[in-house]
């Protein structure tokens, strides 16, 4: 047992090193003087000022943030409904299909979802003359993709939920809707919050789906990063990586704190 455990803990350490060493190096090299990313040329913050003066990059980041906020909010509302339906209604017409539609976006290769959503928007454009591809289409695509993740988090939270509280409210005369708003929702709010955060990060990071459904005019942050790194390593992207990792760490701590808020 001891030897088994020691081996496992060694692997755990190696696994963490494997996960974090590349990121640490990228963050370290964001302070590199040299343009060459493989050569250390001394400490400098010039790529930091370059990134924050990079208009196109900032515009892309702003667009991404707006899309992420709106799509995460849509996903949180619909995902909440979906998770609630999954957890509370054992059977209804089409439940099998419903369950599959919740799981599928999580396992589907993104290129497949990308092309299908694009064809939907192209079809809509031919039939109704819109929506124009850009902010709206990207937001709709991201929301659709993220619903699953919110639904799963909400469903898990509802699975270990004390239903006697709801029953008590109903016994005291509360309508189902009032019970949901005053008892259920406050209790599962942390799950919805962490689902929202997850949807927000997924949207902020998505490249493939976005590349398919974005029009010619809109460029999100990942699209911008992708077109830049295709040409090779770029010190400004190292800076961006450092920012992203830092923000992600903060978001995760916040989300962990939210989920651990036991009612």
């Amino acid at each position: 047992m001891i030897r088994c455990a020691r081996f496992a803990f060694t692997m755990l350490g190696l696994g963490y090193a494997f996960l974090y060493l590349p990121l640490a190096l990228v963050m370290f090299y964001s302070f590199n003087e040299s343009r060459l990313v493989t050569v250390w040329g001394g400490f400098s913050t010039k790529w930091w000022s370059a990134l924050f003066a990079n208009e196109a990059m900032l515009r892309a980041a702003w667009l991404s943030l707006r899309i992420a906020a709106v799509s995460a909010t849509i996903a949180a509302i619909i995902g909440l409904a979906a998770g609630y339906a999954l957890a509370r209604t054992p059977s209804f017409f089409g439940r099998g299909l419903f369950g599959s539609m919740i799981i599928a976006p999580m396992v589907m290769p993104e290129v497949v979802m990308g092309i299908s959503m694009l064809l939907l928007f192209v079809g809509a454009e031919r039939l109704f003359g819109g929506p124009e591809r850009g902010f709206l289409t990207i937001t709709l695509a991201h929301a659709t993709f993220s619903i699953s993740f919110v639904a799963i988090v909400v469903q898990a939270r509802l699975a270990d939920f004390d239903r006697s509280l709801e029953e008590a409210a109903m016994d005291l005369g509360a309508t189902p809707w009032v019970t949901f708003l005053t008892v259920t929702l406050p209790l599962i709010a942390p799950a919805v919050g962490s689902g929202w955060l997850l949807a927000f990060t997924l949207s902020l990071d998505d490249l493939i789906l976005t590349q398919f459904v974005a029009g010619a005019q809109s460029q999100t942050l990942p699209m911008r990063v992708y077109s830049s790194v295709r040409l090779g390593v770029d010190p400004q992207i190292n800076v961006l990586a450092t920012v992203v990792v830092t923000v992600a760490a903060c978001a995760l701590i916040l989300s962990g704190w939210l989920t651990r808020q036991k009612a």
Partner: protein
């Protein structure tokens, strides 16, 4: 309650299910480069036929499946001991250890793949390290090879493997192992006969979460792989964006769906049903 079900049902129906009918329709059309969009609707199996007869596409399928399979196995071999260690750690420390696995998943996928570009580049940090440490004087370039793609997939999908494994290992009843030990089983025998079989659902779930997206992976082969390694996700992308052949790209998507996602979701439903109490 009906409205609560209807809202997500209709949304997913319109934005998720309906599009696949369109993909099928386009896949049966033919390429028409001069019109916008570049498709002539019809009922032609040409694109599908091409996918299964042209050597290039067959090779892309086989390469994708092979790379995804080996990467999944490596991810499992690395992820299993990690999940095992976290599940065996002091309960107080588990959230932190788990968070360290999840954190990379919250950072950008693109940036994590990018992180390997500088490491694996020609004369990059890994080569410099190998030379400096004297492990290899003339290390081969890794970027642009299948090695780099494998590495990228293992790196990017490791959290997806560890999490489901941890979920099953954490629930494992320790008294079963004690019983085995009392009855004289060696630790390794106990692991093989108790821990491993009981963690099988986690292994299956983790492998699916890695294998399926890895087959259709685009970013990793595009940024870390070379031009000679064709993976099917990249083929779809190139047919769509570079060649503008929408029917062919749609046919690839349908095939990925039917051959990959379909069987696995059926299997999953079977699994779920066998766990549910009979009604």
């Amino acid at each position: 309650m009906r409205a609560v079900i209807a809202l997500p049902f209709v949304w997913l129906g319109v934005f998720f299910l309906l599009p696949f009918a369109l993909v099928m329709a386009i896949a049966l059309g033919t390429n028409a480069p001069d019109s916008v969009p570049p498709v002539a609707l019809g009922f032609s199996p040409k694109s599908f036929a091409l996918l299964f007869t042209d050597d290039l596409y067959l090779a892309a399928w086989l390469t994708s499946l092979r790379i995804a399979a080996t990467s999944t196995v490596v991810t499992l071999l690395l992820g299993y001991p990690m999940a095992y260690a976290i599940a065996r750690a002091v309960p107080r420390r588990r959230p932190l250890l788990l968070m360290l696995v999840i954190l990379p998943f919250w950072t950008s996928f693109l940036i994590r793949v990018y992180a390997w570009m500088g490491l694996l580049a020609d004369n990059g940090l890994l080569e410099q390290f190998l030379r400096w440490s004297g492990i290899a004087q003339n290390p081969p370039t890794i970027i642009g090879t299948e090695w780099a793609i494998h590495l990228g997939i293992v790196y990017a999908y490791l959290p997806f493997m560890v999490l489901p494994l941890y979920a099953t290992l954490e629930k494992l009843d320790a008294s079963l192992l004690e019983a085995a030990a009392d009855l004289g089983a060696r630790p390794f025998a106990a692991f093989l006969t108790i821990t491993l079989p009981l963690s099988l659902p986690g292994i299956v779930a983790g492998c699916q979460l890695v294998f399926i997206p890895a087959v259709g992976e685009f970013v990793i082969p595009d940024l870390l792989g070379g031009t000679e390694t064709l993976m099917i996700g990249k083929v779809l992308w190139d047919e769509f964006f570079t060649n503008g052949d929408w029917p062919l790209a749609s046919a690839v998507a349908i095939c990925l769906l039917v051959l990959l996602v379909g069987p696995i979701s059926l299997f999953q439903r079977q699994q779920a049903r066998s766990l549910e109490p009979r009604t």
